[in-house]
């Protein structure tokens, strides 16, 4: 049985679905674990969930200014948060986030409606700093027509850049309820819509999340040793 992770899921307190319910559904769908990454401007973000091994605690930093972003990254990096994502979309925020190697994931770099862009400079930073570029499935699932076309075009472009500079792509559902989750095979099929090959999609669901989580485990172990 392969090991799959969904590292961008929003749950209670940001939405009204408890993390355990999310995990149960995700397990049913064939995931090994999920990461709850609530936006940090909502209440109770980054709080440690109950000690379950398959739920990782993350945070998605949403801000409009670079200095604020820097301050919050510093705050969360020193605390017990296992995964730091940044709410992308704005080009300045994308750049500031990708320059910082303390971040794990740049969430939806093309914005929620496909308004943001990535360029080769940004993706090169991502590859150097080991930051995963997210391809969020909810944008494709929930939008139709013009919006979806724009998002698919952006994702197509991003994928080309990611391949060229060998950055890490990651597939996530970005789900806000259990109905937003999709099983790994469905995610792979949807990823094929913007040209992602099967092997790439499997790596984006399995190898990339594992490497992100291992990086964090190593850090925790270091802290314990000290």
């Amino acid at each position: 049985m392969p090991i799959f992770f969904d590292l961008n899921v929003h749950a209670y307190p940001e939405t009204d679905v408890p993390a355990e319910v999310m995990l149960r559904t995700a397990r049913n769908y064939g995931y090994t674990g999920i990461a709850i990454t609530n936006h940090d401007d909502c209440m109770g973000a980054g709080e440690r969930q109950e000690k379950t091994h398959s739920i990782y605690t993350g945070v998605e930093i949403r801000t409009k200014s670079e200095s604020e972003l820097n301050r919050r990254i510093k705050h969360y990096y020193s605390s017990k948060v296992q995964l730091i994502a940044v709410h992308g979309g704005d080009e300045r925020i994308n750049l500031a986030a990708l320059k910082d190697n303390r971040i794990d994931i740049l969430a939806h770099p093309c914005g929620e409606k496909g308004e943001g862009t990535l360029n080769r400079v940004l993706v090169r930073y991502a590859a150097e700093n080991g930051i995963a570029i997210e391809f969020n499935m909810n944008a494709i699932i929930n939008n139709r027509r013009g919006d979806r076309t724009r998002i698919l075009t952006r994702m197509h472009d991003n994928l080309k850049l990611v391949r060229k500079y060998r950055a890490m792509p990651i597939l996530t559902s970005n789900a806000c309820s259990i109905y937003g989750l999709r099983a790994p095979r469905e995610m792979i099929a949807v990823a094929a819509l913007f040209g992602m090959r099967r092997e790439e999609a499997v790596a984006a669901l399995r190898d990339v999340p594992l490497s992100i989580l291992e990086k964090r485990w190593d850090k925790e172990r270091e802290v314990e040793l000290l």
């Binding site: 259990i178 109905y179 937003g180 999709r182 099983a183 469905e186 099929a189």
Partner: protein
């Protein structure tokens, strides 16, 4: 000539019980908006059965399984209720598909 077919058995996770005809419309809308008229004619989707427990079966041509799977995954609501569709199994014969569905 009769083309080869695949039968996809799926499970609908939904807030409230979903009506068969509304689900059918949602699937058609999803397939159409993703692949257009030409693509849909190649996929040849057909809803065969859907029962109240949330398990259903669709048919398509045997080379277009992934396309139909993506279209099913893109169904996000049926008649205002949020849903998530997951394919449980695929089969080449309707008899075996019924066994997967447990009917």
């Amino acid at each position: 000539m009769r083309d080869r077919r695949r039968y996809l058995v799926f499970n609908v996770l939904s807030e409230i019980a979903v009506d068969k005809y509304k689900l059918l419309n949602a699937i058609w809308e999803s397939v159409y908006s993703l692949y257009g008229d030409v693509g849909t004619s190649e996929i040849k989707p057909w809803l065969i059965k859907y029962d109240k427990t949330g398990i259903g079966m669709v048919r398509c041509t045997h080379r277009k399984v992934d396309e139909l799977r993506a279209a099913l995954a893109c169904v996000h609501s049926v008649g205002g209720a949020k849903v998530g569709i997951r394919v449980i199994g695929i089969s080449g014969t309707i008899k075996c598909a019924y066994r997967i569905a447990g009917w």
